[in-house]
Symmetry: C3
Subunit: 676 residues, 3 copies
Amino acid sequence: MSIGVCYFPEHWPDERTEADVERMADAGLEYVRMGEFAWSRMEPEPGAYDFEWLDRAVSRIGDHGMQAVLCTPTAAPPKWLVDEYPGILQEEADGTTRHYGGRRHYCYNSEEFRRESRRITEKLADRYADDPTVAGWQTDNEYGCHGTLRCYCDDCASAFRDWLRETYGDIDSLNEAWGTEFWSQTLNSFAQVDPPRHAAAGHHPSRLLDYYRFSSDSVAEYNRLQVDILREANDEWFVTHNFMSHDDLDAYDVAADLDFASWDSYPTGHVQVQHEAVSDEELRAGDPDNVGLDHDLYRSAADAPFWVMEQQPGDINWPPYSPQPAEGAMRLWALYAVARGADVVSYFRWRRCRMGQEQYHSGLLAEDGTPDRGYGDAVAAASDLDELASVAAGDADGSFASPDADVALLHDYDNLWASEIEPMTPDFDYWRHVETYYAALRERSVHVDVVPPTAELAAYDAVVAPTLYLATDELAETLTAYVEGGGELLVTMRSGVKDAHNKLHDDAQPGPLRSLVGARVEQHESVPESLESRLTYGGREFGCRVWNEWLSPTEEGAEVVGRYEGSMADGSPAIVRNAVGDGSVTYVGTWPDSDLTGAVVGDLLDRAGVETTDAFPAQVRASRRGGLTWIANFGGDSLSVDAPDDAEWVLGGPTVGPAAVAVTDANLSSLSPAEE
Amino acid sequence: MSIGVCYFPEHWPDERTEADVERMADAGLEYVRMGEFAWSRMEPEPGAYDFEWLDRAVSRIGDHGMQAVLCTPTAAPPKWLVDEYPGILQEEADGTTRHYGGRRHYCYNSEEFRRESRRITEKLADRYADDPTVAGWQTDNEYGCHGTLRCYCDDCASAFRDWLRETYGDIDSLNEAWGTEFWSQTLNSFAQVDPPRHAAAGHHPSRLLDYYRFSSDSVAEYNRLQVDILREANDEWFVTHNFMSHDDLDAYDVAADLDFASWDSYPTGHVQVQHEAVSDEELRAGDPDNVGLDHDLYRSAADAPFWVMEQQPGDINWPPYSPQPAEGAMRLWALYAVARGADVVSYFRWRRCRMGQEQYHSGLLAEDGTPDRGYGDAVAAASDLDELASVAAGDADGSFASPDADVALLHDYDNLWASEIEPMTPDFDYWRHVETYYAALRERSVHVDVVPPTAELAAYDAVVAPTLYLATDELAETLTAYVEGGGELLVTMRSGVKDAHNKLHDDAQPGPLRSLVGARVEQHESVPESLESRLTYGGREFGCRVWNEWLSPTEEGAEVVGRYEGSMADGSPAIVRNAVGDGSVTYVGTWPDSDLTGAVVGDLLDRAGVETTDAFPAQVRASRRGGLTWIANFGGDSLSVDAPDDAEWVLGGPTVGPAAVAVTDANLSSLSPAEE
Amino acid sequence: MSIGVCYFPEHWPDERTEADVERMADAGLEYVRMGEFAWSRMEPEPGAYDFEWLDRAVSRIGDHGMQAVLCTPTAAPPKWLVDEYPGILQEEADGTTRHYGGRRHYCYNSEEFRRESRRITEKLADRYADDPTVAGWQTDNEYGCHGTLRCYCDDCASAFRDWLRETYGDIDSLNEAWGTEFWSQTLNSFAQVDPPRHAAAGHHPSRLLDYYRFSSDSVAEYNRLQVDILREANDEWFVTHNFMSHDDLDAYDVAADLDFASWDSYPTGHVQVQHEAVSDEELRAGDPDNVGLDHDLYRSAADAPFWVMEQQPGDINWPPYSPQPAEGAMRLWALYAVARGADVVSYFRWRRCRMGQEQYHSGLLAEDGTPDRGYGDAVAAASDLDELASVAAGDADGSFASPDADVALLHDYDNLWASEIEPMTPDFDYWRHVETYYAALRERSVHVDVVPPTAELAAYDAVVAPTLYLATDELAETLTAYVEGGGELLVTMRSGVKDAHNKLHDDAQPGPLRSLVGARVEQHESVPESLESRLTYGGREFGCRVWNEWLSPTEEGAEVVGRYEGSMADGSPAIVRNAVGDGSVTYVGTWPDSDLTGAVVGDLLDRAGVETTDAFPAQVRASRRGGLTWIANFGGDSLSVDAPDDAEWVLGGPTVGPAAVAVTDANLSSLSPAEE
């Protein structure tokens, strides 16, 4: 478990690099990531390479006992390359060129750019194949950033046609799969299909979904091109990519080609752009579940300990507001990442950059080389991890041992994309809906895997499946087998709506999930705030919002356990539980408030026999790793924990301060938040 | 009076069509509309036609005693046609192509598309010319939907130049009419005129108004092309088109070529996008005057009973929110449409579609064929209409007899367009201003014709004219003659502002209406909410908003009847009444709140001797048709009506439930809302 | 000191022009501006000129003892010219053409348009070179209006490359200056540089800043082309240009080529679009400091009495709302302009125009020729100025004598542009920040010059420098010399952040200003409203917002005089005062509320020994000119002034009514607002 940092030797004079590397080692850092935007430095003119500056940086890193993570520099091709091949630029849906000047100015489907990417990647792979300081590689950087996941250029048009040919074989199959009789959209040949460019009316949702799939596949294919070259050069290298928080790129798919996934974590930024309202505490330290969902997703995506490749080091430049993080927050984030399964947390960046687009992004050092707000936190985190390593239980590979997760949270990109295509209310957001359930699991300290519905589920005591929007017979069979075998399953609103091609099923919602869920959705409605309603569950009344489904039980084992109160749906079933084999399925046909989510999830965990804690406050989360229990407090107030008298505290103690972390050898289940 | 439905046999297997048609007949439906988006099914490849599926559908409809309404399929040309003639696509004002992928992807002025439209229309007309089941035709579908009324392509440029040549004859006349000396815009030839494409500064309002007129005329001309072919094939067919609610296309102009107008009514959707604030009741059932204004407009546009060609059947896919309609609302809407003069109400659609862009649009049946929320309402409405037919008084043509309207509400598209071009405040909306006065008339149960200022007015006891923005000497003469002959006229703010070419008059506002109105507008101002003021009228104080005109009487017969109170305009005349010949004119120089509108309109009706009821609550409206009185309650609470003891109730009774309708033989004037 | 008017003889029949000119003279007007949009009238066809209409207008103006100000008509080239040279049109950053149809439809860097501009300017200059009625010229009209300051066409691309060659000499210097190592942006040649066109990610801030500089320089160069021609024709003519309020064009730079600057003042419009919240009083009369900052800026820009070339005459057409100005406001604005240093105030326009884009813009006359709301005010203002001239003290050139300003407010466009490029919060606005300090100076009746940091400062008792964002060693030396020599300097948040090329300094903020300011910025943060904090200064507590810098004193003479209270920054220094030589520097590291700004500025003025008054209410401002004291009341309530018993009141008296002005011979310092 260690701390790293992102560094740009090309930004600084050579002598500063020498000093910087020494200071990194002194700070306790172990990994240095470099090179992801240095193409114009590596190859200042076509075919004229210069790697000496990078050689020197790598060599110094090795001299100080650290390791280097190198990146392919393809995220920012030089201007000479763009001028030589202007066709590599992406296009907006309205035909506007996405010009050179920022970054990510290339189309994944440009053959010219693929050839150039191969060339520079091979050069780099050759040069460092035998360098023991280079531990591994990051491919490119944040695929799809700045809205570049989807491009609408002619290269994409051709590639999309090929993708469709590959997927459907013949045009009649596509017509059948999409349902092109609607609005006279029947096609005679694949050559007739274009990207979904600007049109007066909305596009066919099946065509859009395939375009979203194709676009994600294009990235995966492009990434594989780089991975293969790197693996061939040195098969001991790890290869990873740095994903972005709650994103639209299929992380499961891309991660399948990687050794592990990494991601870029900016808690005070992501909470501002991903949550509809942000508290002062969240502006200072982020929301633990907003961050944690990504930790668990990227850990699960490659089924391996992940890295935080970029960890927020202080104030940052891209959210609407840039308040200073709470004192200690940079340490909190690192330790919470490790608690959730990270092996390395690498701060972005070493030193605030004097030039270009990110001058308002802090580093561990200020621009004048003095320690900045995050520096002390990073040093402390490195030291903490050393301390913890001395007492923690380890896995075979030397990482901290992680328990197996008791609960799987189902999540995938088909459901994300399809619900983005037809949200049916401005208030529905797939990620937020998933986060609602994730928070309910985590407030009881449950260890969660975030996996797609195709994952192997048998080992989980319970499965929570928010919005299984697309549902096939295969999925129904898988889930039914899971429940029949004693599993406890929770399925939520907007499940079973569509088939794999984004068409409604012949059967009404939940389509092929009907006999499993034991209920039919009689009606659904989206409601603005003024029409929000209440429902009763377990004898108590709760709130619900955004989307209401009026259910009717259809199976003998199905029991109505929640009903709408007041409003027009008064008395209509809202939550149904269906006994199936040795397990049961709960279907929640609305978006519950957090208390109701907690109650429903709590009951599920009880039935499944999952070991939990009492519910912690929203800003405090407990985790288990390395045979230790980690309590992270993202809030602005201290929290006292009731712990056994013989609990040993490796870090901190039973009163966990604001933006602080405590670690104890006590079992998770022996802890609880103290009564106030 | 009957109920119909929209159906898409091309979406379903042949055997389902057979079953569907039988079920339609069982439900009491009498008309089935088909074919408006089926071009790619009718002509899968260029010149290869397939009408057999449609033949079968028509034949089954006939077999079950129903009638078919066929549509030309031009609203959605197939991709092969677009690929053959890419020039048919429209362009945005900024030059962006409006691509294929949704619908309405053609330019009305494309000669290629006109030729193709003629071809497919002739094919269809020939094929069904002798089929007794085909009652008539709908041309195309919702002209101008999705912002396609105006296109900025080169075909439109040429056509616009021709339109201007036709309108003005020589370029000097255009220069004079528009006033091109302003900002150096004098033109030397028609060839210099382009569509008003993207520019840094705003376009000349006279050029814009002519472009709006030209665009509407282009649709009318395109529509005529289809109408002529259909009429030639079978002159017994009716030909109609389905207009859209409060729209920008000149309905009077297009309807002049039709047998009757029809429109597509979605009460819970339209109220969300057309009103600035929406109550919970309106989210559930819409606003009766928002709907009623369109009923009366489209009835008046062709001076004939109209159809609701598409009636909302339940939840719909396109407004911001899709709450479920109130129980019974689908019946309420149908019966209220008939009360306002509809002959046929056709639900859209028979069954929820499994594919394409409208999967979130309900049908009378759910996607699995079970009755959906609207089905029972549709069956009930069909049965109600049979019941009512047995007691109602009829016209010569077999429709329910309608009384002549006592009041004309003046409305036209020149005034709409010109006020859209220069709204001068974000809060002015022509349709909403017209609706304000429509509501005041309808709350007293007045029967209203919605007609343009060029209509024959002599037969009306009173005329309400909101925002006669463009005013000519001819209009002044017409209105003066009407008032001198004893008419009572109400004219409102922003009248007499411009001439026919959207230029100010030489005389100050109200220009040529000055001697009629008897007042001059000394100043006008738009005001944000913080500057809203009060005014006194008839000894009471009311609110007014958005726009204030400070008036001064200029004629001897002119009397100040309303004055601003407080604010900067304190004491200034706001409402003036002018005696002219045997009648009088009231001019209201502001946007009154609903109480003041009611008071001013009530006084007008009293002076005109129009028979009214007491004011009903905003959600309840009474109408007279077929010798019966219809009371429609769009509200969420029951309303009790005081009626004569001998009143017979054909439907319901004197307590009208939420979203319910009652029909009695009692006279309108004998009814009143019960005191609460 | 006189009143003028803008007039468009090309809009009216010849006989009306004759009558109009006579009425202007009767109203007491002395200048008539004409011709700025009349190119198509002057040259109806290529090479066919018609100036007779203008000759007649000029001649009549001379006949009535008035003078003409003529304009080059280049702001609106005729359509025939655009059709001949379509390349003159500008392009948006996304490549969309800015088409003909409004105005300003030309690119400053089009060689074709420059040639055509020279041609028409020479024609005009020749024709009127010997006409004694023509006093001088306005070049073009409102350069950059409607977002046309920056164009992204190929002509601009070429010109930008030349500008960079000129600026940097060789590409390595550019790479060094910009810092192009960031994101692989190193360039091999100037030919590789494009305008910053639409890109997925943001552009390099150094590239953007140079593009903003280049764009402003392009206008200056284009303007010079016209100025040179006019000067050559008649060197007695004055040449000016009408700038626009708080704008992005470098007024210092353009004004360097002019005899004096003029600007277009629309108080109720500018306050709506430039202030975040607008009171009812401001909707009626504007904010005196919003207007006053422009008066002082444009007076200072050419270091000469300025003109208000367009003065709002009543209601106007372009802000969100168009409320009527307060009674008397049009006189108030004219007299306040003179009080702040205007020599001529010219109302826009004589008569409301019947055609084109500005029909909702009032004139002194209504469209029917009757006096409109502003007419009486204009006549009164003209008469007032005559009255005042009889008692006022004059300068050598015959203007009213103006005192030298005691205080310089530093302001420049580099700082504006750079902070627009990286605002780092939606709530930072450079102009508003400058206005905050301007208001604090003006509420104490201080006479202020608004000058760039490069100005000669020695003569000022105090210098207020808000957001010296870009700071060089030279600037540091200049300011240090000023303070060492006894000057009192106030520097505010976000100063010393960047070097001249928009890169961070090697040293932390405030970079080269560190030893002068005596403090280092340890952290900065932008804060939303919920995180706004308090601070203590001089024993009192105040509010601060938007941006917080946590300071630490670094010099011996530096004293912490303000500290944050509460929030996360509790106790951190917020305001530091540093004794340097004979003067001192105060650095304010946040955006203070108005009370705090007043307190800090008040202390500065006390230390500097600047003569002030007590603070006047926000809507009332006192000025000194012509040996007289002018009190202008922009508020809705009367204000009483305590004045010496022997004060003579040339206009009004010690109780200054709403929207009124009073002028007395009493000294400024003898006056104060009466206690309420």
